[in-house]
Subunit: 109 residues, 2 copies
């Protein structure tokens, strides 16, 4: 399991990306992250919902209620045009950060 303070700052990207693929609800996203990373990373509930709040306040995502077929009522999120633009920025930022950190990790692998 990867320490979360090392993923810190990338959660917005990860969640926006998953919502870009299709509208999703919280629990689904948390499951999807565990699945795709093979349990190498798991987002904590409290963190996930904090991210939602942050993204919604910035108008990068929007919420609507879905069905209640399984357990509690699902709150779906969709990405806004602003959110799409922001994600694009985050992706190119990631490219740059990766380059920079690699600069210092090189020759130590």
């Amino acid at each position: 399991m990867v320490r979360s303070d090392i993923i810190r700052g990338h959660l917005d990207s990860i969640i926006l990306r998953l919502i870009l693929e299709k509208d999703r609800y919280g629990y689904e996203i948390s499951q999807e992250i565990s699945l795709r990373t093979n349990n190498r990373f798991q987002i904590k509930e409290a963190t996930l919902y904090a991210v939602f709040q942050r993204l919604e306040k910035k108008e990068l995502i929007e919420a609507y209620y879905g069905d209640v077929s399984h357990g509690g009522k699902r709150k779906y999120y969709c990405i806004t045009p602003l959110g799409k633009a922001y994600l694009k920025e985050l992706v190119s930022e990631w490219m740059e950060v990766k380059e920079i950190i690699n600069l210092f990790m090189e020759g130590l692998e």
Copy 2:
């Protein structure tokens, strides 16, 4: 300039790596980071000295005073065996984190 909350968590790695190369003092490290990253990232003074404190408390680095030839007295840091081992761990952690984040950024470049 890269936002610092996206580099967050990697500062220990960066600084340990620079001290691994040779004993260094604070101001030198801050200059070296700016230089190597072409000013794409600059560590803030307060942050740098906070990192030193953290690493020293964990016995990953050790301090000694050097000359005073230019301005203030220089406080040099060297890496301990524990620090070397820790850096090694951080490097492999970075490889894993990179993989995980790439997983979510793929197809958006």
